[in-house]
């Protein structure tokens, strides 16, 4: 495989790694690559599978680009191609790391929050009320489903909630 073809292939690979949902596009690009370079698709797919193992393992173990390059050379790739791949790795690894962290298990993740507040005008017990209430709608991901939770807060509760959340933010920031 010439170095030009290798760079093109590497590009295709990284584009897939940074957007793992674009499976069809990846397969289509692989097929194009195969026809353009007169390689048959079957063996190409096998090679690509083994190549992909390297970045995935590297990501898990937070390998530096030096180590990735060493891995490739150990696998029998030429020095030049290994360097090129390692370079691409350095450029893409923040995105890839962020993606991997994003895939980490989250329990009941908060997806969205909507609110409204208003005044209670009257009720069956009290003719004139005039108290302010705040209603929050939290959209939570439970497993693979979204669930809406509605909560009402009084004003003092809202202020202490805000205060607590600001404390959480300070805490999270001190750990980043």
């Amino acid at each position: 495989v010439s170095s030009q073809q290798f760079s093109a292939l590497t590009e295709v690979l990284f584009r897939f790694l940074t957007e793992p949902k674009e499976v069809e596009r990846f397969l289509a690009q692989l097929a194009d690559f195969a026809t353009m370079n007169k390689i048959s698709l079957g063996p190409l797919k096998n090679i690509v599978k083994s190549i992909l193992l390297v970045p995935n393992g590297a990501l898990k173990r937070n390998l530096s680009s030096e180590q990735v390059k060493a891995d490739f050379i150990a696998l029998g790739l030429s020095e030049e191609k290994a360097s090129y791949f390692a370079e691409q790795w350095k450029v893409n690894s923040p995105t890839l790391t962020r993606l991997a962290v994003g895939q980490t298990l989250m329990i009941n993740q908060l997806i969205d929050m909507e609110w409204k507040f208003g005044v209670t005008a009257g009720s069956s017990e009290l003719e004139k009320v005039g108290s302010i209430f705040l209603q929050l709608k939290l959209v939570i991901k439970k497993g693979s489903q979204l669930e809406n939770v509605y909560v009402e807060l009084t004003l003092p509760q809202f202020y202490s909630f805000l205060h607590e959340m600001e404390r959480v933010k300070t805490s999270l920031e001190s750990f980043s």
């Binding site: 991997a100 962290v101 980490t104 993740q109 009720s123 705040l134 509605y150």
Partner: protein, 140 residues
Amino acid sequence: QLVSALHNLTRHVVYCGLTRAEDVLSLFPENFHQNLKNLLTKIILENVSTWRNEAQASQISLPRLVDMDWRVDIKTSSDSIIRMAVPTCLLQLKIQEDAALCGNNPVVSALTVELSKETLDTMLEGLGRIRDQLSAVANK
């Protein structure tokens, strides 16, 4: 019959939000016993604000927040990355279902929600906006 009448009287006072003695006194019929009328009015007025607060607390409403706890964890490892240090927040909200529906046994459920730093920042932005809107309304 007496209890029922008293009940209606107190409900009416609370409903209309009467706070002055004259208003309550005017509710009694013409030839009602004077001292009894004054005594009842005095007792009712003493209790009016307590009753009002209770009525407001047991209004129909969406489920209400009763308590809230949080903790910050640091994720160190997962099946997709072996070593990392990502802080995350776990928030537990204790929510009580509509008091009117539950009668004397309110159902309190605990909801635990996980927030990443980005989600928390967005949420704080939203809460800040609520606070600004509230002050704008209060200052009008």
